[in-house]
Structures are given as structure tokens and as C-alpha cells.
């Protein structure tokens, strides 16, 4: 508990000059244009695994991400990192994501992992399913380890999909519901990379469906997400 408090309220983490340069280089990147067609841009679909589902207490274990470039998932353009933990998570949690205690303790030092993620991400917009969870976890890790507030445009498929498929909106909530509906196979569920890939495939479906409705860029998809957020609040 004390460790966590010191991390939250303590001094700024110490970065090496080289690490500071990398962070600054990322921060200096121009913003992506939300009006560019998705079919002509790069988006990064991300998924994280954590020590649990508690947004306040649990820690980030791994980040998996794949890029969708010009509408296609580029398998060579993907990212996966296990963050080194001070102590391994509980057994039940390990069974869920399959990252064993040794792997957790041997992972990449968090600062390096997060900087590598920024290098990989560039200025591409992020896409996830239930953004609130992934975003919170990633943001907190950035604040703790790099000492800066990670602000980045996100798109949440958990709202985009119901927005595009109103008849299914009542029935489907979880990622599994949607990928099951579209027959997307996934060989190792709850591996951040495999989940990111399945989510990216779902994004491809969403993109194709949106194009049918003349929604072709991120701005349009975000409008759709906003509208659906509003619908789900009032209904």
C-alpha cells in the first residue's frame, strides 16, 4: 500500500536523457487528421491484460496491439510487451491471461515497454473494445512510470458496433458476443495480442459496415460512438 501511495503522490519518475528524448519526440508528433479516410490511414487496435478488473487497484501486465493500415491488418506491424512486475499476480488471474509468474517478473522494465509502445503507436489513433478500461490502465501506467498524462484519440468499438447494428445492440455486450456473431475465431482468448487481433478484425467489419452508411473516417466513427453513448444512457 505504501509503495503504491509513494508512486501516486511521490516525486516524478527519473528518466534517462535518452528516454526523455524519446518521450519528447513522441510528444512533438503532429496530430492525426480525423477527416482522413480510414481506408488510407493507420490505426492501432489495442488490448491490455491486468492483474484484475479493478480500475483503481490493479496493474497493467501486458499490452498487445496490431495496426490496421489502409483497411488491412498488417501482421508485421504489431506490438506486444509484458511489463516487469514487482510481484506476480494471483493464481486465478494467471490462469486467465496465461502469463506465468516467471514471465511477469522477467518482463520488460515498464519505462522501456511504454516508450516502445509510443514508438510503435506514433500518432495513429487508438481503437479498443471498452476503451474506459484499456485507457485508464494505460494512462495510469504512463503517469506512474513516465510521469506524464497520456492524451490520445480513442475509438470505442463497444459503442460503434451497437450503433451500426441496432437490432443486435440489446443482445450483445461483450467482445465475445460480437466476435462470435461475426464468426471471428480466436485461438488464445485473454492474450492481449490475440485479443487485439480479434478486436482489429471486428474493426474491419465495423469499417466495412460504416462505409455502407457513408461513414468513412475517424471523425464520422467518433460521432457514431457519441450518439450511441447517448442512446445507451437514455434507454
Amino acid at each position: 500500500m505504501l509503495a503504491r501511495l509513494t508512486r501516486w503522490f511521490g516525486s516524478k519518475p527519473q528518466l534517462t536523457p535518452e528516454q526523455q528524448l524519446r518521450l519528447a519526440a513522441w510528444q512533438a508528433l503532429p496530430h492525426a487528421l480525423p477527416d482522413e479516410p480510414v481506408a488510407a490511414t493507420r490505426c492501432v487496435v489495442v488490448d491490455v491484460e491486468t492483474t484484475g478488473l479493478n480500475l483503481m487497484q490493479d496493474r497493467l501486465i501486458s499490452i498487445g496491439a496490431v495496426a490496421m493500415v489502409n483497411g488491412k491488418i498488417a501482421l508485421g506491424d504489431s506490438f506486444y510487451a509484458v511489463l516487469q512486475q514487482q510481484s506476480a499476480s494471483e493464481k486465478g488471474n494467471i490462469l486467465l491471461h496465461g502469463i506465468g509468474a516467471t514471465a511477469q517478473l522477467e518482463g520488460v522494465p515498464p519505462v522501456e515497454a511504454l516508450l516502445a509502445f509510443l514508438d510503435y503507436l506514433g500518432n495513429s489513433p487508438l481503437v479498443a473494445f471498452h476503451v474506459a478500461f484499456d485507457e485508464t490502465m494505460i494512462k495510469r501506467a504512463f503517469r506512474n512510470y513516465l510521469g506524464f498524462s497520456f492524451k490520445h484519440p480513442w475509438l470505442d468499438l463497444a459503442y460503434v458496433m451497437p450503433g451500426l447494428n441496432p437490432p443486435l445492440a440489446q443482445k450483445y455486450r461483450a467482445l465475445d458476443d460480437w466476435i462470435g456473431h461475426f464468426g471471428i475465431s480466436i485461438d488464445t482468448r485473454h492474450n492481449a495480442l490475440a485479443d487485439a487481433l480479434a478486436t482489429a478484425q471486428l474493426f474491419q467489419v465495423a469499417h466495412a459496415q460504416a462505409c455502407q452508411k457513408n461513414i468513412t473516417n475517424m471523425a464520422g466513427l467518433r460521432d457514431l460512438e457519441k450518439a450511441q453513448r447517448w442512446v445507451s444512457r437514455v434507454s
Partner: protein
Amino acid sequence: MTTIHSSQLGFFTAHAPFNRMEREHLLWMLEHMQLGYYAHGEVIVSPEQGIVERFLVIKQGMVQGEQNVADASEADAWLELAEGECFPLGALLAHRPVASVYRADKDTFCYELPVADFHTLLGLSAPFRDFCTRRIANLLEHSKQVIQTQYTQSGAEQQSLTSPLSGIIRRAPVTCAPQTSVREVMKQMHELRIGSMVAVDESGHPLGILTLPDVLERIALPQIDLDQPVIGVMTTQLTALPPQACAYEAALLMAKHGFRHVLVVDNERLTGLVSEKDLFALQRVGLRQIGSTIRHARQPEELQQAAGDIRSMAHNMMAQGVAPEQLTQFISTFNDLLTARVVELEFKNSGLLGTPLHTGLCWMALGSEGRFEQTLNTDQDNAIIFDMPQDMDADQMRAILLPVAKRINETLALCGFPQCKGEIMASNPKWCLSLTEWKRTFSGWISGGSPEALLHASIFFDFRALYGAQHLAEELRQWLARVASDNSRFLHMMAENALQNRPPLGVVREFVVGKDNTLDLKLNGITPFVDAARIFSLAAGVTQTNTIQRLRLSASKMNLHVSEIDAWINALLFIQILRLRHHDEASARGLHDDALDNLIKPEKLNELDRRILKEAFRQARKLQARLALEYHL
């Protein structure tokens, strides 16, 4: 190096050819791949896109290849690709646009490799290259290989009857000049301990052969002058095969004509000699020996013995993975020999041999025997055409011929060809007719078109001469080709009838099985091809009876594409392989030939065979669609 691979490798290692590629090359490929999504109905690759730019592997979903035809209503899906399959290989290898439209048949994800990387990968990975370049016939080929390896394991390292002659020739042939003296040739044969001598000209072209039995018959007994040129006593009607020919072809030639040697000739030049002894090692029963036994048999018991030998030989060949068209040809050749001998013997026993009743008679094979498509369990379908001597009428002829025909049918039954339950046999007065009567009968069927007439037409119109006065059968055939091709109403009804028997595929392209979850490979699989080929050949005036030949020869007159015909023939042959394998397995379990059936359970097939069988049935469906189009059904 990224880490996406671990989760994707599992998929690739489950599918050919990726399961045989080195991990390093697989990772390289993945690194360069993209994953694309195509909604149901979306075009993935089309001729309009120009030279193909990517190699695709279906991750999930289904892709249909559609033939690019002018009339959209004719656009019939001809190819169905499922998870793990690759396309469009032909176009990628040839750097050309695709010939067909590939469309997602349901929501589909494909792994995609840019064309440049595809070519790099061809250079990197031998299994990948091998797969892509041999892909065209690959599925069928693969299945054949699997069948063969299953069997060769039991046959140890034994050479098989499918080995090329070039692999069997033991040494260079011993030859002489045609002008060499008989004495000199005999001296050499004795010194070298060889059984034959071939005379060749300066360029190595064979002119004649002398074998040891000839020495006795043509030299010693007639006591000829030993200083004359040897060519004068040689056999100059030579039978030659190219070095690529299979051992089984040589064996069949020897059996059919009673030779002991077959010359191997490459580009007009003698390269070797294959003797019966060379082939003997390859087979448990000598083919020529069976042929010779049959030709010289005097008692039904000897023929029964020979029939048993034919069967064990057929089982042996099946076990060696001999292709179905060769196997059915083998069975037909020997059954013909056997039947001919039975007919001859019974005429001899009746004291009719050599009389006009014998010389003016043609014994006909009908049904599958008529088509050269017999397998191990076929019952008799035969008939007689006779020429009418001036002083007799048809009924008088029948009074004499029917008892003989009855004994022939009985002897054939003893030899393992069960009598036909529908009485379609020469001993039935209805099917022992003069040429005029046959024409009248056929005319009645063609103009009548009752269900019974159509059924009869489907059996009788596959007739061919098996023994005796061939010209009668030929005349009937020519006449039928003329009459039937003119009668579109009859052909229309034949087509309508044929379309009653649909290939067992449901709308969602699953097998439609009968009770006990079985499919009938003959009725549901083979028959649609046989029926359609018969109708095409009748319409086109083609006189062949064999289904494959009928399809090929009807092609141009019926405006059928060669590629289309090839696809149908491959499909037919594949079903035939499955059927023969089914028979072979049943025999191995101790079932007798008369107990063999054609019922298989699709769920018992391996995944590849199941998929090819589906594709084969889809070809049958396509053939029927073509028939329906032709006759506006």
C-alpha cells in the same frame, strides 16, 4: 521482430503447405502478411483488377470462384475455397490477371501476401514452391498419393505395375543387323544366353525380333538354310511402347496378344526390351499367363480358375494404387477375353462353330461392360445381334441360338458374373434379335419415350461388340448415332430423366445422406456423369461408349470447354477412386465380390477427401446444369 506470430502459427501449421514449411520461412511470410476482411458478396479478386497483386490464404469464411461468362445467369460457381486454402495460384505464377471472379461467400478474412513477397517466398521455401507449382492437380494428386502410400507400405519396396518401363529395363538390348545370318544369330543367342534377338537398322530403328520359341517353329522344324539373312525368319509386326509407358501397359499388351516381349522404343530408336519375366516380379499372377489360360481353356472349370485369377490380379493392382481408368480397362480387357472364350466354347459344344449361325452372330456387352467401366461386382448385361440367313426367319434363328445363349449366361455366372436380375441377357428372347429387329426396337424407344423405354435406352445404348460379327454392332451404332441425334424430343426426355437423379449435395453444400448416413457413390456419384455423357454423345453423333471418351469427343459439337470437360472427368475419376478403394477395403475385410456395395459414410472420410468429394459432386451438379440449359429444363 514482432510477436504477432505465436498466436497465428497455430493456424498455419494446421494447413498445407504451411505445415511442411520451415518455421523460419513461415515467420518471414507472416511478417509480410496482411489480414483483409471481405463482407459477404464482396469481390476479392477479379479480372478487372489486372495482374494479380497478392497471394491469399483464407483464415476464415468461404470464397467462391465464378467463371467469367458473358451471360450472368450462366455464372455458376465452380470452385469453392474454404479455410486454409490458397488462391489465385495460377494467375500469380503466370503474372496475369485472374480468369475468374473470386467473391466472399460469407464474411471472410484472408491473409494476404504482396506478389513480390510471394515470389521471394517461392525462392526461399521448397515445400511452398512445390505446392504452388503443382497445385493445379494437387488435391486429386494428393489423395492419390495417400492411397498409394497406404498400400506400398504393405508391398514393401516392390516395384509396382505403375513404374515406367524405363525403370524396369535391365540392360541394353542385344541387337544384330537384318542381314546377319541365321546361324550367327543363333550362335550369339546361345553364347549370351538370351531369349531373343532384335534386328535394327543403322539408326537403331527396330525391324524384327526372333525369340527362342520361334527357333523351334521357324528354323529347326522346317530345316531352313542357316546362312540366309535372319530378317527372313523374324517377326516383323513389332509391338513397341515408349519408355514412359507403365509396366502395366506392357503386361496388358502381352496378355491381350500373347507376346512374351515388348520393345521399348524412344524416338524410333530401340532402347530396351521388356520380357514377361521382367514383369513377373511385379505381379503375383502373370497377366499373359491368365490371357493364355483363357484363350486355350477347354472346360468351364479352367475359365472359373482364370476368372479367380483376374480378380486377385485386380485386387493386387488396386492395392498398388493403379489409377481407376487403367484398372477398369484391365478388368474389361480380361472379362472380354473370358466372355469371348465362353461364347466360343459353347458354340463349339453345340456343334455350331463355323456355321453361318456362328459367323453371323455378334455378342454384345451392355451397360458398364459396354462402357469399359466394369468394377469387381458387375452382373451380366449382354445381348445378341444376328445376321439372318436367307432361308430362315428370326424365330427359327432364336430357337437355335437361345439355348446356346442360356448356357453361355450360366457359364458366365459360374465364372462370377451373376445373372442379371432384370433379365437383360442374350438368353432372353427379347434381347436376341436380328439387326432389323434391333433397329425397330430402338426406334420404338426413341419415339415412345415411356419410363421403361428410357430405362432400357440407358442400358442398351451403351452396347458394343464383344465377340463375333463386329460389323453388325457397328452398323447398329452408326444407325443409332444418326437417328438419335435427330430426335430432340427423345434427348429432351432422356435429359429430364437424368436430372431426376441429383448429386447428393444440399443447398448449404453439405452432403445429403440417406438412411445410415450413407451415400451411394455409384448411383449418386457416377451415374450423373454417365447419363449426361450418354446424352451428349447421342446428340453429337459420337459413337464411343466410354464415358470419358464420350465427354471428350462430344465437347466441340456441344460447345463445351475443354477445361470444363477436364474438370468433370477429374471429378468422375475421383469418385471412381473412392469407390474402388471402398471395394478394396471391403474385400480386405473378407467380403466377397458379390457382397460389395457402393455405400460410403462421408463422415468416415478424411477432411481432404470429403472436400474433394464435395467438389466432385459440385462438378456433377454443374454438368447437370449444362444439360438442363441444353434442353431447356
